[in-house]
């Protein structure tokens, strides 16, 4: 990597965001400044463009616009990221929902889908997959296509298998307990092709839709028992986070769960309407 660092000023950042808003549906006004700025700087370096040329090209070419939106939004996600968070789902949250006729789950900001597949695998192990309805949305259609295909790099993601073992095979409350679950039950590993491919029965399950948390509302006309939104809101400022919390509140059943990333927390006026346990927020019963 070169030692030259491209940096943009606060004024250039505002100019970029303002320009994008005039010729597209994307509004990044209330994104966290530092990480958004850094993403634009990275795009400028990767494409070897200056800010004005970047804006011009995004205005003229809609494919390019979508590609840059994908590059400036953060799309990293893992299978069973933070096993402790999945233990909470496995031992605390899902057991409370097991007697429901239906369990509605929304992955908001699903990116390339690894969390969606993690959830489906866990639901299947718990015998709950048939009663689950799983919805997944993201701002960017490119990542949704990857999520639908369910194919990931193998070598780059060796940590997936370790996390799978921790969540699916082991019991953190009883180290003697160990459940042998072959990976092939859920995905095929091809070391030559360097791929992990999700099984068809998992891919058939979720409904994927394009959706913008900034503007979108609830597009599914149903309420949810669980909303998964991990490491998405960190890219938004407090005021935008609060709007999204309002949307989630309205979209949850009473007693429903909002699951955030392990280093995220709810701030502001909506906190009084949820009961907090770690990074899980339960909508209070009225």
């Amino acid at each position: 990597m070169s030692d030259n660092i491209v940096t943009i000023t606060d004024e250039e950042l505002s100019f970029f965001i303002g320009s994008i808003r005039t010729f597209s549906d994307y509004d990044f006004t209330e994104y966290s400044e530092k990480s958004f700025k850094r993403r634009i700087e990275k795009v400028l370096m990767d494409y070897k463009l200056d800010l004005n040329s970047l804006i011009l090209k995004m205005r003229k070419e809609s494919d390019f616009l979508e590609r840059i939106i994908k590059d400036i939004t953060v799309n990293t996600t893992e299978l069973f990221r933070d096993p402790k968070a999945w233990h909470t789902l496995k031992y605390r949250i899902l057991p409370r929902l097991k007697d429901n006729n239906v369990i509605n789950i929304w992955h908001a900001g699903c990116s390339t889908g690894q969390e969606v597949y993690s959830m489906l695998i866990l639901l299947n192990e718990m015998g709950l997959i048939d009663k689950a309805k799983v919805y997944a949305t993201d701002l960017n259609t490119d990542v949704i296509d990857v999520a639908k295909a369910g194919i990931y790099k193998y070598r780059f993601n060796l940590g997936y298998l370790d996390s799978f073992d921790k969540v699916i095979k082991e019991n953190p409350y009883n180290y003697d307990e160990f459940k042998e679950v072959p990976y092939e039950k859920y995905f095929d590993i091809d070391k030559v092709q360097d791929s992990i491919k999700m099984k068809q029965f998992l891919k058939d399950k979720p409904v994927f839709r394009k959706h913008d948390l900034v503007k979108g509302g609830n597009i599914f006309y149903t309420k949810f028992d669980i909303i998964m939104c991990r490491n998405v809101l960190i890219y938004f400022n407090n005021s935008l986070q609060n709007k999204v919390f309002e949307l989630f509140y309205k979209s949850l059943f009473d007693g429903g769960y909002l699951v955030l990333g392990i280093h995220e927390s709810m701030l502001g006026p909506m906190t009084s309407k949820f009961e907090k346990k770690g990074s899980n927020y339960r909508k209070k019963l009225l």
């Binding site: 960190i234 890219y235 990333g261 392990i262 280093h263």
Partner: protein
């Protein structure tokens, strides 16, 4: 001496002992916030904050996204997140790709702290096996802050401090004990 308002420390898993020694030497009523971005070994991601808390009289915290920066607290970048300092003196976390194979990335934490604190930041690079932190320390210098590296002669692995020395001008090359005296001095300034 600049009127330093915050300290940013970068190092690798191998600098754990040095970090422990530094933290153990600082008084309970230390005034400045200290940000630490340390690489971790893949298989020991947790337990770091607990281990440091035992030795330190100051509180050691892995911040949550949007937490306000408080004086007298040691903030450790959480495993598997990048830690940014926003201009309004809050943290923001990010899960974007690792930089130089590292998440947290020392460079990214240093850039944002340098931008937020300008000349009021002291940046310190400790022992480590890769070049992460060199560009970050340059950003501290470019913004008028104070740059310090652990003496490569003392560092267990000197790639990190040596890379920083090659890239930017360093105000002080210090042993661990000198780093401790420096931190105490800026606290009383």
């Amino acid at each position: 001496m600049n009127d330093i308002k915050a300290v940013m420390i970068g190092g690798s898993a191998g600098s754990f002992q040095v970090v422990t020694k530094i933290l153990a030497s600082l008084p309970k009523d230390y005034k400045l916030p200290i940000f630490m971005c340390l690489h971790r070994l893949k298989h020991v991601r947790s337990g770091f904050v607990e281990a440091l808390s035992i030795k330190s009289e100051m509180p050691v915290i892995e911040p949550f996204d949007k937490d306000p920066i408080r004086p007298g607290v040691i903030y450790l970048a959480p495993a598997n997140y990048h830690m940014y300092i926003e201009a309004d003196k809050r943290f923001s976390l990010s899960t974007e790709e690792p930089v130089n194979h590292s998440r947290p990335s020392i460079d990214l934490s240093f850039y944002t702290a340098a931008y937020a604190y300008k000349s009021k930041l002291a940046g310190i690079i400790l022992s480590g096996a890769n070049r992460d932190g060199a560009k970050g320390l340059k950003a501290v210098k470019d913004n008028g802050g104070i740059t310090i590296v652990q003496d490569p002669k003392e560092a267990q692995v000197d790639t990190m401090p040596s890379s920083a020395m090659a890239l930017t001008s360093i105000d002080y090359v210090y042993s661990t004990d000198q780093i401790i005296s420096f931190l105490k001095k800026i606290n009383n300034a």
